[in-house]
């Protein structure tokens, strides 16, 4: 019983503690084990469903379509700008500053988005803004050929 090398003078108090421990165990109701078993068998059998996060496919698809449209619009805008009213590529007065202002305006508008709008609305607005940009370029501002310009 005594694997702890308890000094001789302390063995009686140690024996008293053992008696106390047995008394505490005996104080448990006779049905303790049964009650624990009944209360916990469901926990033993239960397998928690893994938490799954599903991304709404509809939203993703719409975003892809909108991004594609925006890209096409951007390409169209650049092409139209390149084939301006005088029919020549790069014709007309290059207004890089004007183009930069447009882009800055677009970015500023987007940065004010407080994120509460659904993604589709954001894509729609970017698409419309891109169209407007293309139209404004078509009406007068040309893109210098040979210079790097990026929207």
């Amino acid at each position: 019983m005594n694997g702890s090398q308890t000094p001789q003078d302390l063995r009686s108090i140690e024996a008293s503690l053992e008696s106390l421990a047995r008394a505490e165990q005996s104080a448990a109701p006779a049905t303790l084990e049964d009650r624990i078993f009944v209360a916990t068998r469901a926990d033993l059998a239960g397998i928690e469903r893994p938490l799954t996060i599903t991304v709404q496919r509809r939203t993703l698809a719409r975003m892809r379509i909108a991004a594609g449209v925006a890209l096409a619009a951007g390409v169209l805008a650049v092409w139209l700008a390149g084939h301006g009213s005088n029919g020549r590529i790069g014709g007309g007065t290059a207004s890089l500053e004007g183009l930069e202002n447009e882009v800055e305006f677009l970015l500023a508008m987007r940065s004010t988005d407080d994120g509460l709008r659904p993604p589709s609305d954001s894509i729609d607005s970017v698409f419309l803004e891109t169209l407007n940009l293309g139209n404004s370029m078509k009406s007068g501002a040309g893109v210098p050929v040979g210079e790097e310009g990026s929207l």
């Binding site: 019983m1 005594n2 694997g3 702890s4 090398q5 308890t6 000094p7 003078d9 302390l10 009686s12 108090i13 140690e14 024996a15 008293s16 503690l17 053992e18 008696s19 106390l20 421990a21 008394a23 505490e24 165990q25 104080a27 448990a28 109701p29 303790l32 084990e33 009650r35 624990i36 078993f37 209360a39 916990t40 068998r41 926990d43 033993l44 059998a45 239960g46 397998i47 928690e48």
Partner: protein, 191 residues
């Protein structure tokens, strides 16, 4: 005193229980249920709360087993009693916050352990004096005594549980025994 269930035997039971073997789970409860109960009862001095705590502890264990999350290889007892100690501490904090009335017998014993009536039998009186003496121990010493005797843990298991060197726990245990012996003498009785 510590019950040394072989680790392999316990591991087998836990493995079976985690696969839904109810008989194995019953055996686990049978081996450890009352030890956890005794630990809780020593702290809170109330049978109903001790049972609640015990049930809560085994619910945690069952959930872990059921989910396949138990990974304490060969250290089930240390883990089990760690869960139990945490649950008991939570419960003691809750009791302090709500200041529930203490059992009058315990109150009387703590106030004047020497005046406990002998009508319930000398052994009960002696046990009540010992309970009162336990309440006087410093927290760390009381913890070691309870884990050792009520929980039936070995010093090695306690060392794993408390992350303390074995020698420190041995010294603490002996110091606690001396203090209890002195207190029991002060309370007018000794075994």
């Amino acid at each position: 005193m510590p019950q040394s269930d072989s680790e392999a035997e316990v591991a087998g039971l836990l493995s079976a229980a985690s696969r839904g073997d109810e008989a194995a789970w019953r055996e686990v409860i049978s081996r450890y249920g009352r030890r956890v109960f005794a630990l809780a009862k020593s702290r809170c001095q109330r049978t109903d709360i001790a049972e609640e705590v015990t049930q809560s502890v085994f619910a945690t264990v069952a959930t872990k087993l059921g989910q396949g999350g138990y990974t304490e290889q060969g250290r089930f007892e240390s883990w089990l009693f760690r869960v139990a100690m945490n649950r008991i501490r939570d419960e003691m904090r809750r009791l302090k916050r709500h200041a529930e009335p203490m059992d009058p017998t315990t109150l009387g014993v703590l106030a004047d352990p020497g005046s406990v009536e002998e009508s319930k039998g000398g052994s009960d009186a002696a046990l009540n004096r010992l309970r009162a003496a336990m309440a006087e121990l410093p927290e760390a010493d009381r913890e070691v005594v309870e884990l050792r005797h009520h929980g039936g843990m070995s010093f090695k298991q306690m060392s794993e549980l408390l992350h303390e060197p074995l020698g420190t726990l041995l010294a603490r245990h002996h110091r606690a025994l001396r203090k209890l012996k002195q207190l029991m003498g002060d309370f007018g009785g000794d075994q």
